[in-house]
């Protein structure tokens, strides 16, 4: 199922790319909506397969981890396969991988654990062909939870590594 989604995403990505006549329009990173809006796809929106919004929504910008783990689950690997493919097609983007932990841990250890998670994602993306020079990592430990309850439902969402795109130098 996950593979089917990825395949679909890649297909849309390919169509999006072929429709794209101005690959550098996000080059500055400052005005994603400013130029070249035409056709059915609103550039920069989630319907634009070359957009960070699409990456976030359709490819999936994050993977989740079990408690105190930094190993990648099958679901995580599937998401990262999609991320790697997207980055292969959208070479104008670099990414910072942010590693996070839930609040059930001490501050220092969680910083180190978040770094492990970010690194696991970075290594996986590199193994799938993304140039290491396009990837950076940072750990936020437990400093930036996305869900705020103190239950496993929230913790599961907080134990994450998020691939945050930056409009890079192009290629």
């Amino acid at each position: 199922m996950a593979h089917a989604v990825v395949t679909a995403a890649l297909l849309i990505g390919a169509i999006g790319l072929s429709a794209c006549t101005n690959a550098n329009r996000f080059g500055s990173g400052s005005d994603p909506y400013g130029a070249g809006a035409s056709g059915a796809v609103t550039p920069g929106s989630a319907s634009d397969p070359t957009s960070p919004a699409y990456f976030q929504a359709a490819v999936g910008d994050r993977v989740l981890f079990p408690v105190d783990q930094s190993s990648l689950t099958a679901a995580a690997q599937s998401t990262l396969d999609g991320q790697a493919a997207w980055m292969a097609s959208n070479t104008a983007y670099n990414a910072t991988i942010e590693g996070h932990a839930d609040e059930q841990g001490t501050r220092e250890y969680n910083l180190a654990l978040g770094a492990r998670r970010a690194n696991a994602v970075q290594e996986y993306l590199i193994s799938r062909g993304v140039a290491g020079t396009r990837l950076k990592t940072v750990s936020y430990g437990k400093e930036r939870p996305i869900e705020i309850c103190s239950e496993e439902a929230c913790y599961a969402q907080n134990r994450r590594a998020v691939t945050v795109l930056q409009a890079g130098l192009g290629s």
């Binding site: 930094s70 609040e103 001490t106 220092e108 250890y109 290594e123 750990s139 400093e143 705020i148």
Partner: protein
Amino acid sequence: MMIASHRIRTAPRPHRGGDQALRRHEVQPRQKGAKPMFLRAISFVFACVIALHTAPGESVAQDGPLRIEITEGVIEPLPFALPAFLPENAAATQLAADISNVIAADLEGTGLFRQIPAQAHIGSVTSFDAPIAYADWKAINAQALITGAVSVDGSGRATVKFRLYDVFSGRELGEGLRLGGATNSWRRLAHKVADQVYSRITGEGGYFDSRVVFVAESGPKNAREKRLAVMDYDGANVQYLTDSSSIVLAPRFSPTGDRVLYTSYATGQPEIYVMRVGNVRQQALTDGEGAMTFAPRFGPDGETVVYSRTTGGNTDIFAKRIGGAPVQLTNTPSIETAPSYSPDGKQIVFESDRSGTQQLYIMSAAGGEARRISFGPGRYGTPVWSPRGDLIAFTKQNQGRFHIGVMRTDGSEERLLTASFLDEGPTWAPNGRVIMFTRESAGAGGQPALYTVDVSGRNLRRLPTPSAASDPAWSPLLP
């Protein structure tokens, strides 16, 4: 901010006892054959007892010593009388009252002392140098009597004089002291007096004239704003050292209290800075290392910093002199973090998950082989060596609960002092008697706050802070 102290040479003539007894305590407290008024040789152990030689209403042993003996057993706070310090001139009226209140609050806050309210006093102190009518204080069962006077001179300088009396022995305990400082440092003057009283009665160093650096927090849990702040040990005089533009974490005082190490996301990734508290000037410690660095602590020399550095997802422990080159102390694929020097600077206690879960280890300050010291159920982190050198305080996670605990440096005699949803990050009072830590409440509205607990596990208290607060670090006793 300088505070000068002088002994007051001319002691008032007590009704009983005499100069010999006073001198004995100041000069030769351990003299053999002399009956000590309190025990100085108090071993650092696990519970406090106030060994009172009398209970209210009982007849009193005439020569019983005033002492708080720190040992295992039941606790009964020692009752003291502190008649409001006398203002020696009109300018000192308010200050005398304020200083008296802070001294009493310091002593009561330890859980070791109980103030006898002024309404219960029979006697009064009308002059600092007048003889003490011990019977009046015995009658209300005041074990200790603290008298004092405050004056303010034309240039705004305050002077506090005080004396401490062992009521049931009818003697002054130690010599009178005169302390001087700027009027706006009046709280420090009060803390210094309280430290003297505490120290003379317990035989241990004080901790009231000290500060705490911490992280002031505001905003919702998923967008917390954090600022470095410093305050007196009791929560007074809060000053902010940074704004909230970057996440800041885990500040630590230098051994002299003039500088603070901390971790900031100012560059986008966590890196270590050192800040001079006096002028808030900061300097990057690990710039150029090209890596995430965090969990710094000073060595006892005040020049060496031990910290964690993460490269390729792996976290190890490094040390460097400020401005010097980093030296790698651990080299394993596991997480090594939260290092803390022994007081002599020869060893480092740290946490590692090399066994599979977080546990505590001790290694030489030069690195190399480490020995594991924690073996109980659960995980152990954030170890901090006590100022006395004999104990390690730590955070323990077990069965979904967090604890602050202590163990000996060989891992024996583990004792958990607290339990809650989330307690973490212990820091020692300068005298090693009290531990401060962060306690965070659960849920979407969860907030951290600062708490203290006696090393005996008693006297859990929440510190008053203007906002949520975390990551406290206690300064040394101020000079």
